[in-house]
């Protein structure tokens, strides 16, 4: 009888060992990291003076904004047959924008200086690429087997984006956030952690305003180089981070130069896009010509768009009806970080603020 019991030991011990390993490994990874103490100002300086301009790595973006998750199948089915300009094209572009606001996306990033970048958004059995080399920018979508070439004017380093590869590196996002740090924000240094196996300082930006949905933003700054490796946005009243973008692994050496030479494959549909027209022709075709109005400052900024032909047709889109809820005076697209209020007269108000602030902005004029 005892021999029988001994023989059942491995069946119990092996799962137990694995379960213990699974529980202990994350604990040891989160164990306190010893770094020399720094003031928020010193960490900010590290970010500003970082000398890393060549690296490669894998970026994982997770969004938990309380939006319904759209099944991946719907996205690929929609991408097969979209003609720009038609109603289905518009729905597809809304879907593409919403896609990056839900679920988890993985991308590989290769950067060598300011003029050579390659971004690969890894989908299941497909990939979307953005290759920027000097004044040439290629966008490639393997699901459609279509390549788009954009030539940048000399000296212009801003890369156009059609929304299909809207993943930023944590560094780009951190720069954008830090640029907006002003008197409305408290900057502190939180507990040191590890991102992609590297010890990081945790720079925490907390809004002073009570009228914002953002609870705090924390930026993981590499303790050695000052390169931001993680951006984490917490929403008020939500336990899990609303938005997280972080390197899952990073190599601080220049990637192989061949990666930035892109030749469209044989058989691909190649389109050439001119720069100045492209932005207004494709990306913002639905937007009215009038510029958006910005009210408020800091975290409780409200951006409003005047009524235009595009916004009213958007109200009828079944896609939008699915994700918005009806509120007094219009419809509301509510996420844990951002509220978009579409008033019945076609105006659009957006901001990281509660609905009441948007509504008062709408009735204020």
């Amino acid at each position: 009888m005892t021999r029988r019991w001994i023989r059942w030991l491995p069946a119990i011990a092996v799962p137990a060992v694995i379960a213990a390993g699974v529980l202990i490994v994350p604990l040891s990874a989160n164990a306190a990291v010893d770094l020399p103490a720094k003031t928020p100002q010193q960490v900010l300086e590290m970010v500003a003076t970082t000398s890393v301009d060549a690296f490669s790595g894998t970026v994982v973006q997770t969004a938990d904004l309380g939006l319904p998750e759209l099944p991946q199948i719907g996205q690929t089915a929609g991408s097969g047959s979209n003609a720009p300009g038609t109603d289905s094209g518009q729905t597809a572009s809304i879907a593409a924008a919403l896609e990056f606001l839900t679920g988890t996306h993985t991308a590989r990033v290769f950067v060598d200086g300011p003029t050579k970048t390659r971004l690969q958004v890894m989908d299941s059995l497909a990939e979307r690429d953005l290759v920027h080399n000097g004044s040439n920018v290629w966008l490639y979508d393997s699901a459609k087997n279509a390549a788009t070439r954009v030539t940048l004017p000399q000296g212009d380093a801003t890369v156009p984006n059609d929304g299909s590869t809207t993943i930023q590196t944590p560094a780009e996002m951190a720069d954008r956030l830090l640029a907006s740090v002003g008197p409305s924000t408290t900057v502190t240094v939180g507990d040191n952690t590890r991102v992609a196996g590297r010890p990081v300082y945790d720079l925490v930006l907390t809004p002073k305003s009570a009228d914002t949905l953002v609870g705090s933003v924390s930026i993981g700054v590499d303790s050695e180089t000052g390169l931001p490796l993680q951006v984490l946005v917490r929403a008020r009243g939500q336990q899990s981070p609303a938005f997280r973008i972080a390197f899952s692994d990073v190599t601080l050496t220049a990637p192989s130069a061949g990666l930035f030479d892109f030749t469209p494959p044989a058989g691909a549909t190649v389109t050439q896009q001119a720069l100045p027209q492209s932005n207004s022709a494709t990306g913002h075709a639905t937007m009215p010509a009038a510029p958006p109005t910005v009210t408020g400052t800091g975290w409780d900024t409200v951006v409003s768009l005047p009524a235009g032909q595009g916004t009213s047709t958007m109200l009828d889109s079944p896609m939008l009806a699915q994700v918005t809820t009806s509120v007094s005076g219009g419809r509301l697209l509510s996420t844990s970080l951002l509220n978009v209020y579409l008033s019945q007269d076609g105006r659009v108000f957006a901001g990281a603020v509660p609905l009441s602030v948007l509504q008062s902005a709408a009735t204020g004029r």
Binding site: R7, L9, V14, I18, L125, A143, N145, D249, F262, A268
Partner: protein
């Protein structure tokens, strides 16, 4: 069964050849590229057979390992020889693993052959948009075959364990295949996010990462670790069950 698996790429290739070209963006991945490059027959066949056909055959083989011998009444005689039960289990599992490799290999090999016969063969366009020569692409196809073979090892271990539970091989085969399908259904539900990394089917379609430039090895590694975990857990369960079992037939 290997012949039935090899028939999948042949069927795909003939269907595409006869209808001459499909509209792009429809059907399984890589289908619309077959007419330009025969090597894509192997990839399309892999995408089609990974969710059902391969697990089906592996389930049949792994489910038959122990219970098949029991139902034939040969298990007693095998154990009468001084080989020991552990050794029998190991040999049976190695046999199932060899079948996984040859199953994945035969799909890819048949795909390459029929593709080369019916369509032109040339440089292959990777998912990243870069192109690689035919020699490297055949190397990558071999990698894809080994990836899929590794993916099926966890299922073989599960099948081996279920096979020790019963003397009815059909029951063990059916249970193994049902588990494979259930795991994939669970993997398709976004509400069960937390469970996904633990499903043995989680990385099954990850072989696409071998078709990127440069190759993303992460999924190969995570897949191998996950399958190893399943092998260890179900191997231990099978050991405990089989060494304490009263073999009557």
């Amino acid at each position: 069964m290997l012949g039935a698996l090899a028939a999948i790429p042949v069927l795909i290739a003939i269907a595409v050849r006869v209808t001459s070209g499909s509209s792009s963006g429809r059907g399984p991945a890589f289908l619309d590229q077959i007419t330009q490059n025969g090597l894509f027959v192997a990839l399309t066949a892999m995408v089609v057979s990974t969710p059902l056909f391969l697990p089906l055959t592996v389930g049949v083989v792994a489910g038959d390992t122990i219970s098949g011998e029991a139902s034939h009444g040969t298990l007693r005689y095998l154990l009468a020889a001084p080989a020991g039960r552990v050794r029998l289990l190991v040999v049976k599992f190695v046999g199932a693993a060899v079948f996984c490799l040859s199953a994945a290999g035969s799909v890819v090999l048949a795909g390459i052959l029929i593709g080369a016969i019916l369509f032109p063969v040339g440089p292959v366009t990777l998912l990243s948009g870069d192109t690689v020569g035919p020699v490297e692409s055949i190397g990558r196809l071999a990698l894809v075959a080994s990836y899929v073979a590794v993916s099926l090892l966890g299922l073989s271990a599960i099948g081996l364990f279920i096979s020790t539970l019963t003397d009815v091989p059909v029951g063990a085969m059916a249970a193994t295949v049902v588990l494979a399908v259930t795991a994939q259904v669970l993997g398709a539900l976004p509400q069960l996010d937390w469970l996904h990394p633990w499903l043995f089917t989680n990385y099954w379609l990850g072989f696409a990462d071998l078709l990127r430039q440069p190759i993303a090895w992460d999924s190969f590694g995570s897949n191998a670790v996950l399958q190893l975990g399943y092998i260890v857990v179900f191997g231990a369960l099978a050991y405990s069950r089989f060494t304490t079992k009263d073999v009557l037939s």
